[in-house]
């Protein structure tokens, strides 16, 4: 039977599936010598520069301050996060079959907790890149951290770092909203 909570859960799963097809986050670095900025996109399963050489160029600049190179191959999360997201999307479809608001609520809680954890993990990576610097670095600034902002704009030396959500994040939010709506519609149906 087609019902609003069921449709909402199916939609939630569908949006979550879409997350895998678009970048989730973008970090852009702008400096006088880089007026158009150098940016890279973070997907669920990869990190790519806005141009073929961008990651390499960012890594060359970062090596002066002793920052570790950004090497997508050495970030394990990029290998498994897509399966977690696929799993949660699959769960949403299963919940749609059961069509119980309590189960839907469990799903929402799991999903929100996962995203919160992922966000915290992202912060840890940023912290690690910004603070764990090579002591032999050519440029050392006492007390200076090079951690980019989680979201928004921050001046780091000569670079303005801009960290902003992309289309993938929108689908995460839409998926969450659909899940919450499923719970909401489910409770309302019950009362009626």
């Amino acid at each position: 039977m087609i019902s609003l909570p069921r449709i909402s859960m199916l939609t939630a799963g569908f949006f979550l599936f879409l997350v895998l097809l678009f970048p989730i986050w973008k970090i852009t670095l702008i400096a006088p010598q880089y007026p158009r900025g150098m940016g890279f996109y973070i997907w669920a399963n990869k990190i790519v520069g806005d141009k073929p050489g961008t990651l390499k160029n960012i890594n060359i600049l970062n090596h002066y301050i002793g920052m570790k190179p950004i090497e997508p191959d050495s970030i394990p999360e990029l290998k498994y996060i897509k399966y977690i997201l696929l799993g949660i999307a699959g769960m949403a479809f299963i919940m749609a079959v059961f069509n119980k608001w309590q189960l839907n609520l469990v799903w929402v809680i799991i999903f929100v907790a996962t995203i919160a954890l992922a966000f915290y993990d992202f912060y840890l990576w940023e912290y690690d890149f910004g603070h764990n610097l090579n002591p032999d670095a050519a440029i050392k600034v006492e007390g200076m951290a090079f951690q980019p902002p989680l979201i928004g704009k921050k001046l780091i030396m000569n670079f303005t770092a801009i960290s902003s959500p992309m289309l993938g994040s929108l689908f995460i939010v839409l998926s969450m909203v659909s899940g919450v709506l499923a719970v909401f519609f489910g409770i309302r149906q019950k009362k009626v």
Binding site: P52, G53, K56, Y64, A138, I139
Partner: protein
Amino acid sequence: MKLQLLRNLILFTFSIILIASCSGDKNGSKGPLGSGVAAQKVYVAPGELDEYYAFLSGGFSGQVSVYGLPSGRLLKVIPVFSVDAEKAYGFNEETKPMLETTYGFVPWDDAHHPELSQTDGIPDGRWLFINGNNTPRIARIDLTTFETVEIIELPNSSGNHSSPFTTENTDYVVAGTRFSVPVPQQDISMNEYTGKYKGTLSFVKVENDGRMNIAFQILMPGFDYDLAHSGKNASNGWTFFTCYNTEESNSLLEVQASKNDKDYIAAVNWKLAEQYIAEGKFEEMNSPYIRNYYDEATHSASTETFGKVKVLKPENCPGLVYFLPTPKSPHGVDVDPSGEYIVGAGKLSAELTVHSFTKMLKAISEEKFDDEKYGIPVLDMDATLAGIVKSSGLGPLHTEFDADGNGYTSFFITSEIIKWKLGTWEVLDRVPCYYSIGHLMIPGGDSKKPWGKYLLALNKITKDRYLPTGPELNQAAQLFDISGDKMELILDFPTIGEPHYAQAIPAEVLISNSKQIFKLEENKHPHVTKSENEVKVVRNGNVVRVYMTTIRSHFAPDNISGIMVGDEVYFHVTNLEQDFDVPHGFAVMGALNSELLIMPGQTETLYWKPQFPGVIPFYCSDFCSALHQEMQGYIRVSEKNSKTELKWSVGFEE
């Protein structure tokens, strides 16, 4: 005749007075509008880009300089025919072959006429061609990299002046002989000039990928072939060459070659020539020549030698060439955008002689011939004449056109530009130049679609235009706004070498095609090193090859030992950078060579022969980064046959 001479003499005297008076004319430098309005017209704000690319020949510098218009900003100097230590052109192993000729390595030439490739008569921004005048050659510059990628030598020619003017679809670029010589070359007296000395007109085929081949040469009488332009629309298929010294003199030409009242414009039917070639009506002549080609994939040039050319003789090929009588040693020959009018500038006269293409065809079909020279019919001048521009200027040289049916002609002796109307031949405006203008250039002004708006005067004499710099001065260029009825001087700037001619093209045609880097993964140099893990030093007898990389801010390897006095060392340096505008330099103390200047993704090779034992530093000569001053290394040089082990390293981790 005497009256005319008298008139010219008066004009000439007048012009000298005019030139003299110009020196004190400070208004001229500001233009009639006042400097404020003029400044606004040429002001390109910091960070903004120019409207046009202008390519100015470097004349005796042998190079091409690229300026932005209307600002007059120098954007780049492209080495073509002369070595350039700044860019290692002619110094590194990769570009040395570019300057090979049948005479050997020639480090210099005199470059006169830049010519943009055209599609359907409109400059298309693929390539720029330019002639080498002294050792006859044509070069091709790729406008995605702004680098010389091909130079072809022209056999059986000397003084390659009337070159490399293109046909409307860049089927051919042409070349003529300015100094007729024995063809084939032989040891004969100059007194045997008449009849025995010949000039050739070469048609160089341009393939779709730009590669040039000599399709055929036409063996012409021993005149001086001066300039050329090809037809457009209906006249496409013909190329027109001016010639002087129809007197066939071999000494004191300033007098001897100025005797004839009329010389000729040679009209060559190259489509018919193609037919004669196809029919086999050519002679194959032993004529060694060389072609040098630079391959962007290998970042290296190579030299090919050829032995024969196909030669057509006009006396065996009826209809191939006609002479159009044109007064007083015609210099420029320019074809208007429609292709109907062929404008001859008799450089010792006050007038422009305009021939009509349709009248020429009619005169040919009606056989209105006045004379014949070495089997080439001379047409009746009255039968081809479309009109005469009576300018009262003196010494007309070159004409370019705007999109509104006007011609603009430079006058060397009276140092001015005259604007006149096509068809009515009336003079509309005139403006002085500082001083003694040669060529002039309107963007697209020699094509089927002039963009107009600006006119650049390329002057021969500079004198007091800029702050004095001793006896040797740069040449001067002046930019005029021609968008209104009156030409207005808006900018004056010095140039590099002697800009004979120039070409310009709207910036947007080239900007998007301009390369920023060379892709490292596409580098096919035989001695490329694509990562630091692959660097090595290889000895083979006394030849040592160093496979080196650069990346901000170090060389790998940066310590090398085991090099010996008398070794022949080749540094194959690959720039691993893939970011726009991060070249690295490479310079070795005491090397009898230039530096290297290596673009991102490119490999270049420096040859070095160590002379004494010791430790030789090398460093990056292009300020690349915050730690550029740290980008350095050492080579230990030991005595010949010493036991020092061949070793290389970077850093201390191993």
